[in-house]
Structure formats: C-alpha cells, structure tokens
C-alpha cells in the first residue's frame, strides 16, 4: 500500500543557510488494512512523514510508493487525484470556517465528483458514526474541540479513502475524549481502511496495541509489531 525507500527530507533556511534534517534515510512498508502508530518526541519527523505522503512536501532523497506508484513523479494535475485517495485528520482540525459541519464533509465528496444524491445519503450516515448527527448545521466556531476533531474524522473517511493519515488527532483532547476518538479510528480500521496515526501520547499506544514505528531525530529507531511506546 505505502512504501518509503530510504527517504530523507532536509529543510534548508535559505537566508541563514541552516540545514535541519527532518527525516534521515527512512524506509518502511505498510500493508493494506494495517494500523500504524508513528511515535516520537516533538520534532522527531512525524508530521514531515505525513506531509510527504500527502505531497505537501517533496523528499530531498529517496522514493515513496503509493499503491506501486512513485508519487514524486506525479504531475501537478495528478496530485489532487492522489489526495482524494487519502483522508487526513490534522491536529488543528483544518475545517473550512465558512462552511458548516455538513458542508465541510460534503466538500470532500463534491471535490471527488460525487452526486448531490450520494452526498445527501452519505454525509448524515458518517455524521451519525462520529456522533455529530445533531451538529450538521453548526459552523466550526460553534463546535467544541472534541466535536471539531470528530468532524475532521468524518471528513477524512467520507470518501472511503484507501488510507487515513492522522496527525496528533488527540493533541487537544482530555484522556476521556482521547480514548473515544482512538476507538473510533480502530472501528474505521476494522472496516478495512489503512491508518497511519502520528502521536506522542503513550495512552494512545496502549489503547491501540498495534504496530508502532518510533522516530528519533528523523530516523526509525524501532519498528515494533506489537505496540510498545518506549522513548
């Protein structure tokens, strides 16, 4: 499904000529239907890794394959097509502030060319799944952190992506809500969607109990099949 081959990402500050290595020779492979947690301290390279999959950033070296396609060779017109196969949950939610919950989720379907009928049918179902059935008409400003995160999750899964990337999805939540959200991800994974979850929260790993990739200073220091969080 997803394969990193010796991927390095170096950020260069052009004015000060400072180099910062975000990822350093990272290689791993993820099979369809897997649930991977990527852990590490802040700055370990977790977010960069997700950004590379989404083509928000390009690797300095190495290759990334998504379903056998080298994504760095995609033309700019093909990038949206790749992104439509990926669902993303950002730590800061990134909901469209001018659209209400329903419209935010419907937008992803509109982008993929779904019909109005499909949108009317699917969005309420997904809103029910994430527990936001009664918040469809509310705008992001009117939602709590927990509700925003749930809306973001609904948006990430509405178009049945091949893979969902979640970057610190519980970063702004209390332990109770954290466990609730993680259980939601597990449920989505059970339905067949591959999930990559970046986190620095030990509790999350304890709940998930699945494969854990540990990053430190941009390198993979551990790839554990059975969920341990050791730093």
């Amino acid at each position: 499904m997803l394969k990193f081959e010796n991927v390095t990402k170096i950020y260069q500050n052009s004015s000060e000529r400072m180099k910062s290595i975000a990822l350093d020779g990272v290689s791993f492979e993820i099979e369809k239907g897997e649930f991977i947690s990527v852990v590490g301290k802040s700055g370990a390279g977790k977010t960069t890794l997700l950004k590379l999959v989404l083509l928000e950033e390009r690797p300095t070296q190495g290759m990334i394959f998504f379903k056998g396609i080298d994504i760095n060779r995609l033309k700019s017109t093909e990038i949206p097509l790749l992104r439509r196969k990926i669902g993303v949950v950002f730590q800061d939610y990134k909901l469209l502030s001018s659209k209400n919950t329903f419209e935010n989720i419907a937008y992803v379907m509109e982008v993929t060319g779904a019909s109005d009928k499909e949108i009317k049918r699917d969005v309420p179902i997904v809103l029910e799944i994430v527990g936001l059935g009664k918040k469809a008409k509310n705008f992001p400003d009117e939602l709590s952190a927990r509700e925003k995160q749930r809306a973001a999750i609904a948006r990430a899964l509405i178009h049945r992506p091949d893979i969902i990337l979640a970057d610190e999805p519980t970063g702004n939540l209390d332990p109770y809500n954290t466990s609730e959200i993680i259980k939601l991800f597990l449920k989505i994974n059970e339905m067949g969607t591959t999930i990559i979850l970046a986190t620095h929260n030990k509790e999350v790993i304890k709940i998930v109990k699945k494969r854990v990739i540990t990053l430190e200073n941009g390198k993979i220091i551990r790839d554990d099949k059975n969920g341990h969080f050791i730093l």
Binding site: L54, E56, T77, E78, P80, L81, L82, R83, R84, K85, I86, V88, K94, L95, L96, S97, S98, Y107, V108, E110, V111, T112, G113, S115, D116, R155
Partner: protein, 309 residues
C-alpha cells in the same frame, strides 16, 4: 486515477454556486467592484452612442450643405439661367435652385418680418440689397470642391459676387476634428479606466483570497483541483462584470428616456431613444463582454500565486 468519470456539469454547477456565495459573503467590496467596473463599461457605451450621434450630425450637415453662388447686380437673369443649364450637366450636381433678387428679399422678409430692427435697416437701405443666386447641392460633401472649381475656370467668373462654400467646409471640417479628438480622448480614458478597474477588482478579489488563504490550502490538501478552487473566484469576478453591465444598461435606459424629449428640440435628426432601443442587445453584449473580461482577468491574476500547495 480516473478523471474522466467527473460529471463536468455537476462540477460547473458547484463552482457557480460557490462563486455566488463568495460574492454575497464579500458584501461591500463586491459592490465596490461592480461600480468600479461600471466606469469603463459606461464610458465605452457612451463612446459608441456618441459615435452614432456624430455620424448622424455630420450626414445631416452634409445634407444641408450647399454651395450658394451670388451674382453681381448687373448680371442678367438669362445669363444666370444659362449657367444653371450648364451646371446641371455636371455629374456631381444633384440639384440646382435659382433664387432671384426678389425671391431673396421675400425670403428675408418672411424669415425676419417680425424683427423691427432688421426691417428698419432694410427700409433705410431703400433698395433690394440682395443678390440673385444659384443654390447648388452635390451628392457628396467632397464633390463641392469640383463644383466650385467649375466657377473658377468658367467665363462667368467676373459676374460672380461670391461663393459661400468655404465657410461651411470649414464648419464640417471643424466638427470632424472635434469629434475625432473627443473619440481619441474617450478611447484613452476608456483604456485608463479599464486598467484602473482591473487593478481595483484585482485587489478586491485578492483581499478576499488572502482572507481565505488557509481555506484554499485546506481545499488543496483534501484533493480539490486548481480549477475547483479557482473557479468560484473566476465566477465571482464574472458576476461583478455582469451586474455592472446590467446596471449600466438600466442607467442608460433611464437617462435616455428623460434626455430624449429635450434632445429632440435641438437635434431632431438623431432619435436617441429609438436608436438605443434598436441597439440595446448589441450594446448590452458589448457591456457584458467588457465587464466580464475585466472581472475574470483580475480574479485569475489575483489567485495565481495562492494555488501552489
């Protein structure tokens, strides 16, 4: 990754709806944009109507223009009538009319009979001060030159008191120069105003885009294509242009409705309102074209740099 499965009409519908929402949400700046685009739209429309009015004015003047040849007092009527026959053989001549001294006097009295001062002056002179004349009309204004040359070379040269062609010629030429200057100034102003409107619309839409920069970024990250994001801004610009054209045509209709009766008094040859009515669609089309061109080009320019995610 199949792009062909896209329903193009559905996508267009969504782009149009999003553009309309953008337009409504922007409120004040949207209205400002409409009125800024309105300036070059109205300017060019006025120029087109002015050009037509000018054409009518010139042809009216040419129609009215004639060459009047005044004969010295001692010239005999037979000689003048002979000349009239000769003249009618020239192909450039459309019409010749002989006006005798008496007729000229009668015409004058008829026209100015109520003007005491003039009548008094006429009595003071004691005799008929008018000359017999031939009034000659040509088919085209340019032909008057040929006709007047005929007199210069003819045997009658000595019997001619004066030819009053040149005065009118300079009047027509003056109008030509004046209107061509007004046209030039109008077109320059139109170009300047178009650039100004382009810049202001560009700025309005750019502000709207900057406000939505983060949203555009999110839209790109969830897989929206550039056209799906650019489209609504494009539509927003077009809506401003269309509304400008609509306001302009309504404004002109109202203005001409009230102006028409007044214009009839001193320029009856140009039926402003009638002309406007017959040309309304073509005029509206031109206005739409200018309005939407300014609106869409400026929005495309404005969004260009925010799509690189």
């Amino acid at each position: 990754m199949d792009i062909l499965s896209f329903d193009i009409f559905l996508t267009l519908k969504r782009i149009f709806l999003a553009g309309w929402r953008n337009f409504l949400r922007d409120g004040g700046p949207s209205i400002a944009t409409i009125f800024v685009i309105l300036i070059p739209v109205a300017l060019l429309s006025s120029l087109l109507i002015f050009k037509e009015a000018n054409r009518v004015l010139i042809s009216t003047l040419q129609e009215k223009a004639d060459v009047s040849v005044y004969f010295k007092v001692e010239t005999k009527e037979e000689e003048i009538l002979y000349l009239k026959d000769e003249l009618s053989k020239i192909p450039e001549v459309k019409e010749i009319k002989y006006i005798s001294k008496e007729e000229a006097l009668q015409n004058f009295i008829q026209r100015h009979g109520e003007n005491q001062t003039l009548m008094e002056a006429l009595r003071e002179v004691g005799k008929n001060p008018f000359f017999a004349s031939l009034s000659i009309k040509a088919w085209q204004a340019s032909q008057y030159e040929t006709i007047s040359k005929f007199f210069d070379n003819s045997n009658f040269k000595d019997q001619i008191e004066k030819i009053d062609y040149y005065e009118r010629k300079s009047l027509i030429e003056n109008i030509f120069t004046l209107t061509s200057n007004i046209n030039k100034a109008g077109i320059t102003l139109f170009i300047l105003m178009s650039i100004l409107a382009l810049l202001i619309t560009f700025n309005t839409i750019r502000l709207s885009i900057i406000k939505q920069r983060e949203e555009i970024r999110i839209q790109k990250l969830v897989g929206a294509s550039n056209w799906f994001i650019r489209g609504p801004f494009f539509v927003q610009g077009a809506i401003s242009g269309i509304l400008s054209a609509l306001i302009c045509i309504l404004f002109f209709a109202l203005l001409f409705y009230f102006l028409d009766p007044r214009l009839k008094n001193f320029f009856p040859e140009f039926p402003l309102l009638l002309y406007f009515k017959t040309q309304i669609w073509i005029l509206f089309l031109i206005q739409l074209l200018i309005g939407t061109t300014i609106g869409t080009i400026s929005s495309l320019l404005a969004i260009r740099k925010y799509l690189e995610v």
